[in-house]
């Protein structure tokens, strides 16, 4: 089981993420429809919904990978449109496991990921060493990413996102395709993040949301159908009703 390298409690830090009237169209399809959302500093926030609800679109709008059709989303008051490097410096992004370079060795990939975020020299070495220790990658450093199990690949994915010590971690479906043991390993890492920095977790796994987040928003066809403390939103006989857009709306 993974343990934090530095288990000392840290002050609640991170960034504020705020979406105002955030809308995104793909041709005639409305992927996000006027989303209003505020994620507080240091909050572990879950974005829930079925496939196609608009979760990944929201993430892509936060990172600046997509531009909004209307409205805005800011990270600590700045938008990816106005200051893309300012936003990317604040974000650690963990996509699904397959989004890596299978031909690169783990050490080489981490060196690239750190370098691409402007780290170099002794600082880069120190950050890589810390990441390797935190995610227990010592035995895999010389192995090509394509030869690793999905669980190990996701550890590497998490390690690369931590290299520049970002105040905002965005994690998209982190346990998809992993076996139960690997899922638990990844969740253990994400549990450590609570309060340490702002976390946006995209998932359709309700158990994961309950375990890792303090507050959630449920999206259905691009609209926010519920938002509130996780236990409150996911209480009731059938929380999946929210995923179908037929449940009660939480404030």
């Amino acid at each position: 089981m993974m343990e934090p390298a530095d288990a000392a409690p840290r002050a609640r830090s991170g960034v504020v993420v705020e979406a105002k009237g955030l809308t995104r169209r793909f041709g005639p399809h409305l992927a996000l429809d006027g989303l209003d959302l505020r994620i507080e500093r240091g909050e572990a926030f879950g974005l829930l919904g079925a496939n196609g609800a608009g979760k990944t679109t929201f993430i892509r709008l936060v990172t600046g990978f997509l531009l909004p059709s209307a409205g805005s989303v800011t990270v600590d008051g700045i938008t990816a449109v106005a200051d893309p490097s300012g936003v990317s410096a604040r974000i650690g992004f963990v996509a699904e496991t397959t989004r890596l370079y299978p031909e690169l060795r783990v050490g080489t990939f981490l060196r690239f990921a750190g370098g691409a975020r402007g780290l170099s020299g002794p600082e880069l070495n120190a950050r890589i060493d810390a990441g390797v220790a935190r995610f227990h990658l010592e035995s895999s450093l010389a192995r090509p990413l394509g030869h690793l199990s999905k669980g190990f690949q996701q550890r590497v994915n998490l390690a690369q996102a931590f290299l520049h010590d970002p105040p905002l971690m965005i994690v998209d479906e982190p346990t998809g395709g992993l076996d139960p043991l690997q899922q638990e390993e990844v969740r253990a890492v994400l549990r450590e993040l609570r309060g340490e920095r702002t976390l946006i977790l995209c998932t359709h796994d309700l158990g994961e949301a309950r375990e890792l987040t303090e507050r959630v928003a449920v999206l259905f066809r691009g609209r926010r159908v519920a938002i509130g403390p996780t236990e409150e939103v996911l209480s009731g006989d059938d929380p999946l009703e929210l995923f179908r857009g037929t449940g009660r709306s939480a404030a």
Partner: protein, 265 residues
């Protein structure tokens, strides 16, 4: 600058870490050798025919002037290589952007300190380097024809520059095509299509309905005319500008793909 250096290093590792690079390199050298030795065979056969069908053969000056290494081997080899490269270069460029999109690693790149301009620059620069290495490897045979044909070092340099610029132009076209798709096959086919269309417009300019201005324009954008001039040993500034402009245009088109994707999704 640190981010750009890291990306260039990664591109080099990914390129030279994949078997495709070596397959392409070997293919180019093999195809060039085949083209060269085939023309050399024709040249030798022609010489033999003249030598055996005329009393005295070589010594009696019965071999016409136009049967020489320059015209019978060198120029046809260069011509065939120019067309062959249109087929081979897109095999190198097809994966450069398309693979990032297919894997989803482009999203990872966009959350780093790298700008789209830096990503395009790094990918173009590394591909140009690889294409230049390909040309050095494949230039052995044309160089032999030039040296043996007594054409001279200046001509040799001009031909190499022309061959490299032609390859870089084709690589630029292939990279621009690769930037707009996640499918490597689509990228390769688009690269072939644009390369072959741009190679030579003489098929369309021969029609009577095509006006002089159109012919002038099509000639101006034709790869074949520029490449052919280098093959003849002529280094013309206008031709250099043509290749640089083509590369810059392709880079701008590839750069635009990032903005286009942010809008179109």
């Amino acid at each position: 600058m640190t981010a750009l250096r890291a990306l260039i290093r990664k591109e080099l590792l990914v390129l030279f870490g994949a078997p495709m690079a070596y397959v392409a390199l070997t293919l180019v050298v093999l195809v060039t050798a085949l083209i060269f030795f085939d023309h050399l065979r024709i040249y030798n056969q022609t010489l033999f025919l003249f030598a055996s069908s005329n009393m005295g053969g070589f010594e009696s000056d019965t071999v016409p002037d136009y049967i020489n290494l320059r015209d019978t081997v060198f120029f046809p080899v260069m011509e065939t290589m120019g067309i062959t490269l249109i087929g081979l270069i897109p095999l190198v460029t097809m994966r450069v952007f398309a693979e990032e999109r297919a894997r989803g690693t482009d999203e990872l790149l966009m959350t780093t300190a790298l700008t789209p301009g830096q990503i395009v620059f790094a990918k173009f620069a590394v591909t140009y380097l690889f294409v230049t290495i390909m040309m050095v490897a494949s230039f052995v045979y044309p160089a032999m024809a030039i040296i043996e044909g007594g054409i001279g070092a200046q001509h040799l340099a001009s031909v190499f520059v022309g061959l490299t610029l032609h390859s870089i132009a084709l690589a630029s076209i292939g990279l621009a095509c690769s930037a707009y798709t996640s499918n490597q096959l689509v990228a390769a086919v688009a690269g072939w299509a644009v390369g072959f269309v741009l190679w030579d417009f003489s098929w369309i300019t021969s029609f009577s309905f095509v006006g002089e201005r159109t012919i002038g324009f099509l000639d101006a954008i034709s790869l074949h005319l520029r490449y052919g001039s280098f093959a003849e040993g002529i280094v013309n500034l206008a031709h250099l500008v043509y290749f640089i402009a083509l590369a810059a245009l392709a880079a701008a088109i590839a750069r635009f793909s990032f903005d286009w994707r942010r809008v179109a999704g």
